[in-house]
Amino acid sequence: MIDIITMLATHWISIIGIVIGGICIAVGVHFVPVGGAPAAMAQATGIGTGTVQLAAGSGLTGLLAAGYMYKTLSAAGAVGISEVILICATGAVGAMIMITTTMIVGNWVYIYGVGVPPASAKVEYDPITKNSQAPYVAPGTVGQGMPTVCFVSGTIGGLLGGLGGSLVYCMLMWVNGDPAISSIFAIGVFLVNAVLPSYNIQGTIEGFHDPKFKRVPKAIVACFIASLLCGIIAVMIPGTAMFGGI
């Protein structure tokens, strides 16, 4: 029989990893320019879908990249701290590729399909390019498409989301050594940590220049508690190997 207390004592470092991963995901969600239904009609800045779909999409792409990297590295030897850093970097790049592809193709649709210039109504000047925004915002809307600042912000969001998801996956692999259980658990932890911040931003946000970004500390507190709870439960689940294999 496997003792629960022993598992908790052995895997406390994995719990810390899961909490850090959860907080990375929570902060990452705030960076992604989410426009929701108004953006889908080119009446608000951002990608035209909900936070959860975007976070889950980029997170799962990151998880896929991280899983492949884990397989390759674990074939070469034991997975230590330096390997975990490599795996997290792979996951972060995977998630960034997904989110940037979504944003660039979305921008093509907005610019060439709908015929609107990307512009933000939340700031007077784009903080990165210093371009004036107000003249390009169509009357009656709150911006359209993804201007440069949103694009950069979204890429940072993908980085943090992919990093967090891969870190959770690595920590769970250390505990149970079973890719199937680890990935489905990482998805569970990921979704909890993506939905809580999405309530924090009330559905839409443009990126780090948006006034709503100041709400980040509340999401960090909420996700710290939620990830701690999920982490404590997750490290108590052993993999197949501990049941003597099948």
Partner: protein
């Protein structure tokens, strides 16, 4: 939103009791032909989740209805697997679903309190509804996993449901059954019976897909039994849903038949 015909307590009682009874009969009997009972239990749990989503989302949560369904299954998958694993670790397989359910209720309440107290969403029914949604998530996942694996043993579920990847359709279709009914029916003329009939038909679709998955994992005849029963449940409820749509559309509904011959 009209007055509900069924109260939340009635729906929760039915969801939890039918859900657990179905899972236990299918999991403990060991008879593959009874595996479909776990699926029927999961359909009632889906309805419980859909009703909770209906109550909480009518306040307007600002992020779209799908987020709360994904949250349900995110919390559900952690609790369900933990419950089943605990059952296996202590050689008492039968405690698995109960432990999972209790844990999910705790996680749901904590997440609901965080949403209201820390994030300050200030929706009065948030704690209760997230508790119910997490409970529904765990029963849906456990129910369909037991149906596909034909057993409550965690080792068997890992081998037949998780490693094979059948957990993915169960996860996403289970979430759809919880989130889709209200997402499809919402609006000023939303009625509870129409939303809940829709949740039965969504649950039945998940059960049919679970039946297809179980062809490879348990027994072809048991799988066909599950698929046929699920198809019958789907047909009855979908026809009921269409009738209710026509009823709620009132005088605005005119039957037009199929496309005219020239338009095909």
């Amino acid at each position: 939103m009209s007055e509900p015909a069924e109260t939340a307590n009635q729906i929760d009682t039915k969801g939890v009791v039918v859900g657990l009874v179905g899972i236990y009969i299918a999991g403990i009997s060991g008879i593959p032909y009874l595996a479909f009972l776990a699926g029927i239990g999961a359909i009632f749990a889906t309805k419980m989740g859909a009703d909770a989503v209906r109550r909480v989302c009518s306040y307007g949560i600002g992020t779209g209805v799908p987020s709360i369904g994904m949250l349900a299954l995110g919390m559900g998958v952690i609790a369900a697997m933990f419950g089943l694993a605990i059952g296996k670790m202590y050689n008492a397989v039968f405690i698995g679903p109960i432990v999972g359910l209790v844990l999910a209720l705790v996680i749901g309440f904590v997440v609901g309190s965080l949403t209201n107290k820390v994030i300050k969403l200030n929706i009065p029914v948030m704690e209760r509804c997230l508790t119910e949604i997490a409970g529904a998530g765990v029963l849906v996942l456990t129910g369909f996993s037991v149906m596909v694996a034909g057993s409550m043993d965690f080792a068997v579920i890992i081998e037949k449901v998780i490693t094979t990847g059948y957990i993915a359709p169960i996860f996403i279709l289970g979430a759809l059954g919880i989130l889709h009914p209200f997402n499809a029916n919402l609006g000023p003329d939303e009625t509870q019976d129409r939303t809940l009939v829709h949740s039965y038909s969504c649950g039945a679709i998940t059960m049919a897909i679970g039946g297809v998955c179980s062809i490879a994992t348990i027994d072809p005849i048991a799988a066909i039994l599950s698929i046929v029963i699920a198809a019958a449940i789907w047909y009855v409820n979908f026809m009921g849903f269409v009738r209710l749509v026509q009823r709620d559309a009132g005088a605005g509904y005119v039957g037009t038949g199929l496309l005219p011959p020239g338009a095909m």
